[in-house]
């Protein structure tokens, strides 16, 4: 492991053991992150991006469980920590997280300061005037006035609240911060300013950041690396500028095309037909094949390997060195492009069951 690597994730699998079966929310995720760099994780809802974040904190909620793989965070093997050790050793100190909808995360009955000092109090035993000084310094770092310390959350605007949450996440000087959809609820102007601040903080404090979002256009501004997720897999991972200029995986290609451009007149927007699969019973072979516009015969049968193309890691048969695979016949089965319903047949056993129940109910009604 290189000296400046902060995080190394290797073949991480996190599954949810539900009564309907094992939900394979995260499968075989591997990536590294260097100090002072940022990675953007993008994908549709339900693709496992939040599960990845919770796994890194060793905070997967039951029935979720890290099944296998390793997470090496600054020399500490996170997967082996008990809950108590994780709280003591890594959370806030090594890695902290800014949650989705951070605006509602603060308790309305306490002042901002009261809530901000908590990590200082419990992790470092710092209280009183000293804690206040530290908090005010961090508030100023995120472009807020120190006097916000004494205000109540309802007195702040959405952008200000988001900044307070970011400042709190930085208090114990972690090596890495995870930001889960940090600006989705904010207006464009405020969003752009917070993104500017995050870029500056990354440089000034030399910390690593992980951005989680479904909106690729935001990630372009802040990430050095990019990981595109689909149905629990990282399907493409590499340098952001390479992926943006030349997306390799058909899924990435479509995600990029779905971003509207304000400069040119267009008649239609690209989109990906169908819905993401149910992960209790994911599609055979490549999990994306029912919605893929480049699907081949082999995609239904065989899980693709990760191929390195031009420095970017792509999990797709199109880039296989084995020619018989790379030049497999075009798919004979119907993908969502021809028939949206075809892609939905992968909804899994549960979907079928409920529909049966429906039939019965209606019969009874009659």
């Amino acid at each position: 492991m290189a000296d400046n690597t902060v995080l190394k994730v290797d073949e991480l699998c996190t599954h949810y053991l539900t009564s309907d079966g094992e939900v394979k929310a995260l499968d075989d995720a591997s990536f590294e992150l260097e100090r002072g760099k940022s990675i953007g994780v993008a994908g549709e809802s339900g693709c496992g991006k939040s599960t990845l974040a919770f796994s890194l904190l060793n905070q997967v909620q039951p029935p979720g469980q890290i099944m296998s793989g390793s997470i090496n965070l600054d020399g500490i093997e996170v997967t082996e920590l008990s809950e108590k050790e994780a709280r003591k050793k890594i959370r806030w100190k090594k890695i902290s997280m800014v949650f989705q909808g951070a605006m509602e995360i603060m308790t309305p009955v306490y002042t901002v300061g009261h809530q901000m000092v908590e990590p200082l109090k419990y992790h470092k035993g710092i209280e009183g005037e000293e804690a206040r000084n530290i908090c005010e310094r961090y508030l100023e770092l995120v472009n807020l006035d120190g006097s916000i310390f004494d205000r109540y959350p309802h007195e702040l605007s959405g952008g200000q609240k988001q900044r307070v949450v970011i400042a709190t996440a930085l208090l114990l000087e972690p090596n890495m911060v995870i930001l889960d959809e940090p600006t989705t609820a904010l207006d464009v102007v405020v969003e752009a300013r917070i993104m500017n601040d995050l870029k500056r903080l990354k440089k000034e404090l030399d910390i690593s950041m992980m951005f989680i979002t479904h909106d690729l256009s935001i990630l372009a501004e802040v990430s050095d690396d990019l990981a595109i997720m689909y149905a629990g897999w990282i399907v493409e991972h590499g340098s952001a500028s390479k992926i943006y200029s030349d997306p390799k995986h058909p899924y990435t290609e479509k995600l990029m095309a779905a971003i509207p451009d304000i400069r040119t007149d267009i008649d239609r927007l690209e989109y990906i037909p169908g819905v993401p699969p149910n992960l209790v019973n994911p599609p055979s072979g490549c999990r994306f094949h029912p919605r893929c516009h480049k699907a081949m015969e082999v995609c239904r049968e065989m899980e693709p390997k990760v191929h390195e193309v031009d420095g970017v890691r792509v999990k797709c048969h199109l880039y296989s060195e084995d020619e018989s695979i790379a030049e497999s016949e075009e798919a004979s089965y119907e993908t969502a492009y021809e028939d949206e319903a075809a892609a939905e047949t992968y909804e899994g056993e549960k979907g079928k069951e409920t529909e049966d129940v429906f039939e019965e109910e209606t019969e009874m009604e009659a």
Binding site: A220, S245, I262, Y271, A341
Partner: protein, 342 residues
């Protein structure tokens, strides 16, 4: 040019802030929120109109006024030359609302979780006494589902909203609006809760329905990047006033008001090579409260080009080019290049 389908003249809505007993006893002056402050616009048949702005600028209030869900404080609205601000009785309003429908932002809470899709779609038919027999109504529901590409319709009729994905739910909302064959649909942030890929799908569908169903949309959004694709005209709102309006390609290529320029710079750029450094944002601060609208031009405290006149005199609407106006003393004189600004 053809006659407008919908006209708003000096449309105004002021809300009074509720006072507590003590404030009343002390005879404190009543505070007024100027949510919509005298705006004019025309919407033409099958030419979508979008309204953009930050939260709190009054865009949703405009939508509600147009649906007559709120009563305007002042001003007039005309639908096909009929004065709709004069509609008073239940029957008149009911007839008006058959022609105009609304789609809300959050498909997760706009559909009753206890009703099946069939019941949800039949409700507008029941209210407006459409379809004589059950079979007739079933046919109409089928047709509406097919219109929004939820096929085969039989598969969806008996489902509950929680069994659908976000995009499918929003398409059910759309079907519920379309089942009455409205002329006019107010779409209040219809795609902001959806994933980017699904967003495109729903917008494409809504665009197809313009010709298929002869419908015109009033599209309310904070996401300026989708307006170019979806609409023909755009109005930019700031603190209750429409500061710039015109054809969408004119306004976006040649924004005349400094606020529109700032909004355009703030749009995230999906190209890392273009946004290496910090973004130079021309405006600072946040939108002020509607109770305390600044004097003169309401944008002047945040405006990078503000001069003395801006705090003294409210700007008139100035024509920048044909069908493109901006409420700024210096409209047309401020140069703007999106690529240089980044």
């Amino acid at each position: 040019m053809a006659k407008p389908l919908f006209r708003a003249r000096n449309l105004t809505k002021h809300f009074e802030v509720t006072q507590g007993l003590m404030q009343k006893l002390r005879r404190k002056e009543r505070q007024i929120v100027r949510a919509v402050d005298g705006i004019d616009f025309d919407i033409y048949w099958k030419r979508n109109f979008s309204i953009v702005g930050e939260s709190g600028c009054g865009k949703t209030t405009v939508g509600k006024l147009m649906m007559r869900l709120l009563d305007p404080t002042d001003g007039k609205m005309y639908m096909k030359d009929k004065d709709i601000t004069e509609l008073k009785s239940r029957e008149e309003l009911k007839a008006y609302r058959r022609q105009t429908q609304i789609i809300y932002q959050d498909p997760f809470s706009a559909l009753d979780p206890r009703d099946r899709i069939r019941t949800i779609l039949e409700e507008p038919l029941r209210i407006h006494n459409l379809g004589d027999t059950r079979e007739e109504r079933t046919d109409m529901v089928h047709e509406a589902l097919e219109e929004v590409r939820l096929t085969p319709p039989e598969k969806f009729l008996r489902r509950y909203p929680h069994m659908l994905s976000g995009g499918q739910k929003q398409r059910v909302s759309l079907a519920r609006a379309m089942i009455l064959n409205p002329d006019f649909v107010v779409a209040d942030e219809p795609v902001s809760m959806l994933d980017v890929s699904v967003r495109a799908e729903v917008l494409n569908l809504m665009k197809d329905l313009i010709d298929e169903e002869d419908v015109t949309y009033f599209y309310i959004t904070h996401d300026i990047s989708t307006t170019r694709f979806f609409t023909d005209y755009i109005g930019v709102m700031y603190l209750g006033d429409m500061v710039e309006k015109g054809r969408v390609s004119d306004v976006l290529d040649n924004p005349a008001h400094p606020y529109t320029q700032a909004l355009l710079v703030a749009v995230p750029e999906p190209d890392p090579d273009r946004v290496r450094g910090m973004k130079q944002l021309p405006i600072s601060g946040e939108i002020p409260s509607g109770t305390d609208v600044p004097s003169g031009c309401r944008f002047h405290p945040r405006c990078p080009h503000a001069k003395d006149i801006c705090s003294e005199k409210e700007p008139e609407e100035r024509e920048v080019e044909d069908e493109h106006t901006a409420k700024c003393h210096f409209a047309g004189e401020i140069d703007f290049d999106l690529d240089v600004a980044k």
